[in-house]
Amino acid sequence: MNLAFHAGAAGNAPALPGSLRAEPLLSRWLRFSAEGHVTVMPGKVEIGQGILTALAQIAADELDVAPGRVRVAAASTPGSPNEGVTSGSLSVQESGIAIRHACAEARALHLAAAAGRAGLRPEQFVVQDGRFLGPGGIEIGSYWAQAEAVPLEMEARGDVAPKPRAGRQVAGRSAPRLDLPDKLFGRARFLHDLRWPGLLHARAVRPPGRDATLLELPGAALPGDAVPVRHGNFLCVVAADEWAAEAAAALLARRIRWAVRDSLPEGTDLRGWLDAAPAEASVVAERQEPAAPAAHQLSACFTRPFLTHASIGTCCAVALWQEEALEVWTHSQGIYNLRADLALTLGLSPERIVLHHVEGAGCYGHNGADDVALDAALAARAHPGRPVRVVWSRAEELGWGPLSPAGLIRIDAAVDADGRLCRWDAELRGNGHSSRPGRAAHPTLLAAAHLDPPFPLPVAIDAPLAGGGGAQRNAVPGYAVPALRVTLHRLREMPLRSSALRGLGALLNVFAIESVMEELAAASGQDAVDFRLRHLAHDARAQAVLREAAALCGWPRRPAGDGTGTGIAVARYKNSGAWCAVAAEVEAAEVVRCRRLWIAADLGEVINPDGAANQLEGGAIQATSIALKEAVRFDRQGVTSDSWEAYPVLRFSEVPAVELRLLPRPDEPPLGAGEASLGPTIAAIAGGIHAALGLRPRQLPFTPDTLAAAME
């Protein structure tokens, strides 16, 4: 969504597919070695989603080499193509398609070279595990033998078609994750595991509130050889031993004196704050076609709290500062974007900064990965020539990372006497869903706002709908309705730093839209599935996933007992990505539990079906956690939900059983798998709660407190 779409530097191929448009040089994407392997170099990064495996499958297929010969380079600046951010369920569409076409062109160049040498035509060859076999099966060459002789330092031309689907042997079949073995045998693979001679360890000491001034730093002796590093209100401690850094940070946190001021709204009245805060209004979508008069109408307001990423591992970075240049090892989702903000903050030119991606724990959006890179750079600047690693505490991870913003949506909708939707008005309010680095005049990194002088943090924005949107993602219903108006009120103040979390606005919007559809169906005496199908006549693929989920769960599903019920929901992610329908069986006792989920999805072409299923199911389980448990809590000074006790997420005993079906669409373009299931899961759970308890959830999460409010 942040890619600059322009023609290749030579302007020769404006229609190049995927990320080849912005990065057309073939040599940026792959290289062959004489030793018999090929390295592909995506700009997208592994964030726990298995993308490296899928990209390797695509390359193996297109080149006709055994998957074991494909190596995937970790992204780095300036060595990797700039593919913006690994986000938005776009990695196969952008990186995968670029690699597919780059490999097709590289293969054609190699075959042409072999053919020219042998006086044959390229069509006379078959490629077998990288070897070029001419007539009679005679080997004429190979990628490996020609690795040096065939240069790839040229722009893609866009005139070589990749293999047709029937020719693919690897992409489209489940493949084991390349990274999983290391993770099952306790091998050093994460950034946190790197061990270097001379490595120093640092820990930050955060202020006690969002708006605080460091008054006095006591000169107390610190454990080990730990020393403080201070810039304005940014403070960290650096030591040779990790133990000493942690002990020193804990000691200083107890002894420092700060002045803290109230800066946050009243956490118990989110709706009041959302309505009162100054906002910038825009129209997301509008159409006014002749409509029949309303027979049943509904006005409802749906709200959601701030959410956090709650990654199981905490953010980490290693930085090395020497001779006015900076090298950083990071698990950022967007290394070029991070480089831009580090350059702004530190007053370095981007050319003096090199970034290397190394895996961190699971990442579900813009978390603290970028912030901790600045922490490490500031610590390293005070210790030139020594690599310094910073690891965040659990309290920093839950309390200081960018949050997914609270929001509300008011929907006013109606059906006519025939039970057809005739009007849909929606108004959204909340903070923007992007504070990603590299896009604004000021850096968006946490510590940048704590330096002296501080950089003002830019207020979060929402990408335009054509780029996926933020708060307004999935705010326009996919259902046929003649009169429609959707407006967005993006807040112009940002008391809590807000940014992108898996699904963005789709979490609230799909929950709200699908709830309204359920209620209108009930009000007009129609089955909830039939009512939706009726309004999806223009979208056969949406109908297909909804029918599939309904069949999987046996819709209309009778309650399994008192206090149980099943809900169902459907959405096309971003209105342009994958289709997903989910049915959820809930059991409502003292608290609501989700016991079973049935998921049907249409992801277009699927590279690694098992990996895609893993992503869809994981998204649905994360959404179950969000639906039933999660809310960031804060007082007037800071976030208070900074432990697992205060920010609980789903545990093993609460995980629903999942049945999942992917609809085969191998000839359609790939649509991404990571985020499609979240919105429909939340909405289906809300529907299940209504079926079980007879009340309509309006507020996330669906806890006894908010459900009691819905009863009133």
């Binding site: 964030i47 726990g48 989603q49 298995g50 084991p176 994750r177 990274d179 999983l180 073995p181 993770k183 099952l184 045998f185 306790g186 091998r187 050093a188 693979r189 994460f190 946190h192 595991d193 061990r195 454990p223 080990g224 990790e242 133990w243 000493a244 942690e246 002990a247 709650a310 990654s311 199981i312 591992g313 905490t314 895996e359 724990a361 699971g362 990442c363 579900y364 690891v391 505490s393 659990r394 098992d610 990996g611 893993n614 992503q615 199911e617 994981g618 998204g619 649905a620 389980i621 994360q622 432990s643 697992w644 006790e645 997420v649 545990r651 093993f652 005993s653 995980v655 059983a657 999942v658």
Partner: protein
């Protein structure tokens, strides 16, 4: 302080500062990567080790509590060449996403199967209740543990 214990079957001895936790020692001077920091409050299971065979979070455990005892981590289970049946089952089920939680979950699962070779799904859930997985791969892990149990009984 001087501390000596058995780590994955081999004796280790180290000189460590007062106040060091077992997790800090394992990841620091003992140079292991398997046990991971997650919260420092025994609430997520990332740092799970066995102490004399029983699962125990290592993030709050003072290092001297390991004195003379038997400490086990994921590194003691198996190798890519000779995987433990649990590691093989997790590979077969592709039970994981980011992988951060896996070391601790394997440690708890191994202790469960030693104690209860034929657990039902509820028993596996109960044994893994101290562990968080934010990626949502729990159902695959439940299947993998039950698969390993079958393989180990065969």
């Amino acid at each position: 302080m001087a501390v000596a214990f058995t780590l994955n079957g081999a004796p280790v001895a180290l000189e460590a500062p007062e106040g060091m936790t077992l997790l800090q020692a394992l990841r620091g001077p003992l140079a292991l990567s398997g046990p991971r920091f997650g919260c420092g409050a025994e609430a997520c299971g990332c740092c799970m080790v066995t102490l004399d065979g029983d699962p125990r979070p290592s993030c709050t455990l003072p290092l001297d509590a390991a004195q003379g005892r038997d400490v086990g981590t994921v590194e003691g289970l198996g190798t890519p060449e000779a995987p433990h049946p649990l590691q093989q089952a997790f590979l077969d089920e592709q039970a994981g996403q980011c992988g951060w939680c896996l070391s601790g979950i394997l440690v708890s699962a191994e202790a469960l199967l030693r104690r209860e070779p034929d657990p039902d799904e509820a028993a596996v859930r109960a044994a893994l209740e101290p562990h968080l997985c934010r990626c949502g791969a729990q159902n695959r892990m439940l299947r993998a543990v039950l698969r390993a149990a079958r393989a180990m009984r065969a």
